[in-house]
């Protein structure tokens, strides 16, 4: 296995190998999907907290995680198929009228759904990016469960129909970039996608649609907002939070394939994420706001939960705390909160710096269960909560999903293999201008 452990000899004997550690963390994250499911409709809760609705993005991660569970023998194949079928049937039969208490509209779905009824929760929006994550899961399930059994045949049929039903073109503003969302109360939300983000997955899925594809112009309109920057000695396509550099890579193997932007820069999105990871480490080493614990082996500013404490003085500066936020480098927001799971999701890109960081975070946690890595966020600067500082309670589905998928890509590349075999993703990538490598 790659990487080495840097712990003291005294504890080394008790420490598992990298492989064993990753297996344990991945298994624990996988269990999230078994614990938070409503078996009647297959929906998965957004978080483990009381009253949490389902998030369609988390459902997408669950659909992608089941094949991994089968591969590792954590669940039976028939069980995985049954779980997948339950949720595909639910979405298939759901109310697509777009009324305020429906489930979706034009093949897209509300971001949050009631766990029991499956109708819109929290007055949420019909979300494009979250439908994207859901569809990535739908296509992954269809690609994995390829047996000619009645159940798996039905699964593939439903998956294909759900993907074909998404009217991507409708969400294109003036024929160019894609909108963020839509609400029955006010129509499209006018936040455009600007700058590099996880939306690359959304564009690839939308461009690959055989029924309602985005125009190729949409991808150009979006990538025109990219910024290629030299920061801390690294040249990269800039985005502050780590998750932006990670989410699309859960399903798409970007190694060696390039769109016109990456050809111009002699780079690819995978290498770009590696550099973004190094930039994070550089930032944490500089630690400009002098937060506790930041350093070469403690980094990972990304989306996650942090403390909602009142402002306080930190190193001569009035520091606010942002609760759940997308934190990023080098401009923040940064309140001393690390999203531990973003370190695990960095393994595929930069194992030589991610493994030492992982070991450090595991060693620092209050128990040996990897609390700091699995929690949505922790903040050693807000120290009164305990010896390791503030830790987000419970678990968040997105984090657990990314842990399961990205550890798997690191260990076996299963999700990438499934993605490479998917004709819709291939077509979407080609229409976005990707060439070379496995494509």
């Amino acid at each position: 296995m790659r990487g080495t452990s840097r712990s003291s000899p005294a504890r080394a004997a008790a420490e598992p190998s990298d492989d064993a550690l990753l297996d344990r963390l991945q298994r624990a994250a996988f269990d999230y999907f078994l614990q938070t499911v409503n078996p009647r409709n297959g929906l998965i809760a957004d978080t483990t907290r009381d009253g949490a609705p389902s998030s369609i993005a988390v459902v997408g991660f669950a659909l992608s995680a089941y094949p991994i569970g089968v591969e590792h023998g954590w669940i039976e194949r028939a069980d995985a198929v049954e779980r997948s079928l339950a949720v595909l049937r639910f979405f298939s039969d759901s109310d697509q009228s777009g009324s305020p208490d429906s489930t979706g509209y034009r093949g897209f779905y509300f971001h949050f759904l009631d766990m029991r009824s499956g109708t819109r929760a929290w007055l949420s929006e019909v979300s494009l990016i979250d439908t994207g994550f859901l569809m990535a899961g739908v296509l992954t399930a269809a690609a994995y469960f390829g047996a000619e059994t009645p159940a798996e045949t039905e699964l593939r049929r439903l998956a294909d129909a759900l993907y074909r039903r998404v009217d991507w073109r409708w969400a294109q503003r003036d024929g160019s970039a894609v909108m963020h969302g839509w609400k029955p109360e006010c129509g499209f939300l006018h936040y455009g996608w600007e700058g590099y983000s996880e939306a690359i997955l959304l564009y690839v899925l939308g461009l690959g649609s055989p029924t309602h594809p985005l125009t190729e112009q949409s991808f150009r309109a979006w990538t025109v907002t990219y910024q290629w920057e030299n920061l801390y000695g690294y040249d990269f396509l800039y985005a502050g939070p780590l998750f932006i550099h990670q989410f699309s890579h859960a399903w798409i193997d970007f190694r060696g394939i390039r769109d016109s932007f990456m050809r111009e820069k002699d780079c690819d999105y995978f290498e770009n994420s590696r550099r973004a990871t190094c930039v994070q480490r550089e930032y944490a080493t500089r630690n400009p706001r002098s937060f506790k614990s930041y350093g070469p082996d403690c980094w990972g500013l990304s989306a996650g939960e942090g403390p909602s404490a009142p402002p306080r003085l930190v190193a001569g500066r009035r520091q606010a705390f942002y609760g759940y936020a997308a934190r990023g480098v080098p401009y923040g927001p940064d309140d001393g909160t690390i999203a531990g799971s973003s370190v695990l999701s960095s393994l595929v890109f930069a194992p030589e710096i991610a493994l030492p960081a992982l070991r450090n975070l595991v060693a620092r946690g209050p128990t040996d269960a990897g609390d700091l890595v699995r929690s949505s966020g922790f903040n050693p600067t807000v120290g009164e909560a305990g010896p390791t500082g503030w830790i987000s309670q419970g678990a968040f589905g997105l984090d657990q999903g990314m842990i399961v998928l990205m550890i798997e890509n690191y260990r076996s590349g299963l999700l990438w293999r499934l993605g490479r075999s998917n004709p819709h993703l291939r077509s979407g990538l080609r229409r976005a201008g990707f060439r070379g490598g496995w494509l």
């Binding site: 929006e125 609400k183 109360e185 006010c186 939300l189 006018h190 936040y191 600007e194 700058g195 990538t223 025109v224 907002t225 990219y226 910024q227 290629w228 920057e229 030299n230 920061l231 000695g233 040249d235 800039y238 502050g240 111009e264 820069k265 500089r286 400009p288 003085l313 001569g316 500066r317 009035r318 606010a320 080098p330 401009y331 923040g332 927001p333």
Partner: protein, 507 residues
Amino acid sequence: MLPLHPPIQQPVEGPYDRELCDNLRPPDWRNPRPREPYHLLVIGAGPAGLVAARRAAALGAKVALIERRLLGGGSLNYGSVPSKTLIRSSRLYAEMRDAANFGVTPPENIRVDFAMAMERMRRIRTRISRVDSAARLAAEGIDVFFGTARFTSGDAVDVDGASLRFKKAMVATGSRSRLPSIPGLAEAGYLTNETVFDLTALPASLLVIGGGPLGCELAQAFCRFGSRTVITHDVPLFLPKEERDAAQMVAEALARDGVEIHLNTKAVNVRVEGGKKCIETLNDGNVATISVDQILTGIGRVPAVDELDLEAAGVAYDAETGIRIDDFLRTTNRRIYAAGDVCLEHQFTDAADAAARIVVQNALFLGRKRVSALTIPWCTYTDPEIAHVGIYVKEARERGIPVMTYTVPMHDVDRAIADGEEDGFVKIHVRQGTDTILGATVVARHAGEMINGISLAMVAGIGLRTVARVIHTYPTQAEAIRKAAHACTRTRLSPFAAWLMRKWVNR
């Protein structure tokens, strides 16, 4: 006579506004007898008009300068100058507030004397007005007319009954606040940048409608003075014209000061209840009400083209974009030019000044200077400031220009760390594979000062690698520019050259 600018209409008791009037609109002024025809007739005595009139007169031309309200225009009277003086007071307050972080114990109760801060603003405005007084301009040989100019033909204007003929003319009437059409706003009353500087008492609460540069500057200043301050902006992006990182950083700075920012929020109507102005807002279908003492509208500027009878002179214009000009600043009447906010996309004092110089050259001396050749920097004077020059990355990419950006966070600059002014960055955009500077954005406490070095390099055609050879005084915050230049030099080293150098030192 037309209604006068409020400071004159309602003079604050005190010497400063009286002197301001004496300088910029003397009560006993008598317009001179026209000396016809004028080589250059200038309508509007703001930054563009003053520069053109002075420059032309100094070069021996017969010049008329016509002003409807106050010499100095918006910049001096209700724009750059008064806002910057208030910002200075607000920065001082912020520094005192944070003094303990620097090892200095502030007084227990830091009190803002708003009336005194406003009086200081008036004093400074008046002081600056001395150099642009009507008497001085007359002494420089310029015929100064107060009144409303209307074109009567392609070569003549009427100023309150007097006819002035010209060989060449320049329209520089500037711009005025754009008023939002919100039901009830007019009845409830509101401030614009033209009236906000007349306040003598701090409003307990203030709503700024529109998140433009001046609105953001004043929101931060008033918030620091102690007003509960709210910004509503009907688009989802804060400072939408700026780079996202820059805007985000300033949004956070404002939030830290306590400014409430409501993006994607439209003010739909205003009513008065119990002496408060209640503004109903709409955000993605959600209705809310904000209750404040004062409303400031800051939603942009419209060119001042009314009442000029431009049609009589054959000058084409648009109510939104102003007077139509070509690249030589000529209007559709070849005798008539325009400069400043009335015709330019970049509505800044410095741009107006530069355009006026072009007009004098082109109108009087057969010049062929182009406005498109100007390199115009601009700055939003929030704390930290955002300054920009040249092209934005998005514009470059739209034009198919490959761009490389060299970024230096201020937290990598020793002096910024020492000063406790680490919020910000320098980003210099060059054409990929070269060191040609296409543009730059600086966010820093003194970004407006720092950008000038980059503008200089751009205008002089100096590449970023040459900038790297310029020794910048250490430690200064402008060293961030040198660091960006050094990063450019490093990446210019080809792998082969790097290999050769390694071989050489290890020989």
